[in-house]
Amino acid sequence: MSILLKVDNIHTHIGQYHILQGVSFEAKEGEVSVLLGRNGAGKTTTLKTIMGLTPATSGTVTFLNEGITKNATHHIASNGIGYVPEDQGIFGALTVEENLKVAMRKENDAARERQEYVLKLFPDLKKYWKKEGGHLSGGQKQMLSMARAFINDSKLLLIDEPSKGLAPVVIEKVMEAIIEMKKQTTIILVEQNFIMASRIGDTYTLIDDGETVQSGQMSELIQNEELKRQYLGIG
């Protein structure tokens, strides 16, 4: 399988803080790569750096064999990377329909097809089609945000902690959706819920203090009690 996205030794400063101090990993096409690590380790910043929201000060991000490190966020997005931020980024005063419409860059048959697809994936969205985004529940917002990122021809989805603050039943639904979406696209997932991460992840990258500590197959990490204890506080 080919490498879709490659992050090579990126360093990112936010204001005066040196947040990322050497993060490297690869995302292979069709896989789910999970970024793990404790609070403040730099996982969210890694996604934002890929998106160009907090551009890297050094190091490179390569997507589809093309350097995108210094590209503007909107270029990166239209190149085919969809982003589901930690806070879901729903436009509160826009309806579900409008939220999707803003995201749809080309209103052609392919886009409509994808829209049909996500509505099947998340029937709730169809139900609340005319409801304002701000009035949705946490789980519905998460679904809308994922649908919105997916609706364009995104080859890669960056999803930041989809389970955060959700009830267990809803987490289950979100997980199923991600597993379903995986058939269509590549996913980079930030997740602290290790059970969830280990169930859907193919590969993992462990980040601590802004640095990649270890990468590999998820199955290996599940066995490695030492690593889990040291960096995830579990086991």
């Binding site: 909107h74 005063a93 995201a103 860059r105």
Partner: protein
């Protein structure tokens, strides 16, 4: 009764002019988080360039188009030169846009001379209708109609079109709009230019209404527009229309009944709103 109607029309007309100025101000603030103290300068430039075009061609249509174009060009320059370097720094924005306001209004004096200039009402729109005892001045009605039209067009654009959707989404969450593949900086620029064009339109319509134009009119009207934006709720489009009409009417009635307080009443209105409802009457939803 006829007095009331006249004051009403008068107030509405003034309100609509303020609205044209405030609409741009509020859009720019809501989307870009920039308070443009130079906005009044664009208004004055609209008035002067419009009068100049009118003198040249004797066509009010050309005058309006000329003023709007002037506004668009100045808006482009302002955004690129003045606003872009200071995004995100409020104190610098406040200081720099005020500085640009001075440059704009002094430049007016260089280009058009330091004195007041008389502005004529186009023949088609001058005169009045008499309905019973009520005298309706045509030009004022014209201003009101233009104001309603502009409001309608903008409501339509904001609610029904893709670009409007993007602007509304941008007001709520700029970062996310970019992450959906939209060049928000481009949108900023367009909105700024449109805001400037609205201000210029307000200026050119103002000229025949007041009869004379002068460089300081920009600042005077800008203060009114600020008041309107605060009362209406920063970033709220319908709010600014409502507040503009409120301020226009309050000014018109006060000017007749308690002339000494006519300007003060607006300030007091704003002070009361700020103290009791600092977010304004309407809020741009986020």
């Amino acid at each position: 009764m006829e007095l009331i109607i006249n004051l009403l029309i008068n107030g509405l007309a003034t309100g609509m002019l303020i609205f044209l100025l405030a609409a741009g101000l509020t859009l720019i603030f809501g989307l870009m988080d920039v308070l443009n103290f130079a906005h009044g300068g664009l208004f004055a430039w609209g008035a002067f360039s419009g009068v100049w075009f009118y003198g040249l061609t004797n066509s009010f249509t050309v005058a309006i188009i000329g003023a709007i174009l002037t506004g668009i060009v100045l808006g482009f320059i302002t955004e690129k030169l003045i606003i872009t370097p200071v995004y995100g720094n409020h104190i610098q924005q406040i200081l720099i846009t005020l500085g640009f306001m001075i440059v704009l209004s002094e430049m007016l004096k260089v280009v058009f001379g330091p004195n007041q200039i008389a502005a004529k009402t186009p023949p088609l729109l001058s005169g009045s209708w008499e309905i019973g005892d009520v005298i309706i001045i045509k030009y004022r009605l014209f201003i009101i109609l233009v104001g309603i039209l502009v409001f309608g067009i903008f409501q339509f654009i904001l609610k029904r079109t893709k670009i409007g959707l993007i602007v509304r989404a941008g007001v709520m969450n700029k970062e996310m709009v970019q992450a959906l593949g939209i060049n928000i900086k481009q949108v900023f620029l367009y909105v700024f230019m449109v805001g400037a064009a609205l201000a210029a339109l307000g200026g050119v319509l103002m000229a025949p209404y007041s009869g004379v134009i002068y460089a300081e009119m920009g600042m005077e009207f800008a203060i009114l527009a600020f008041i309107v934006v605060v009362i209406g709720g920063m970033g709220s489009f319908p709010g600014s229309l409502l507040a503009a009409i409120l301020v226009g009417l309050a000014g018109s009635f006060m000017a007749y009944y308690v002339p000494a307080l006519s300007l003060a009443v607006n300030m007091m209105l704003m002070a009361i709103v700020l103290i009791f409802r600092p977010q304004g009457l309407f809020t741009a939803k986020g």
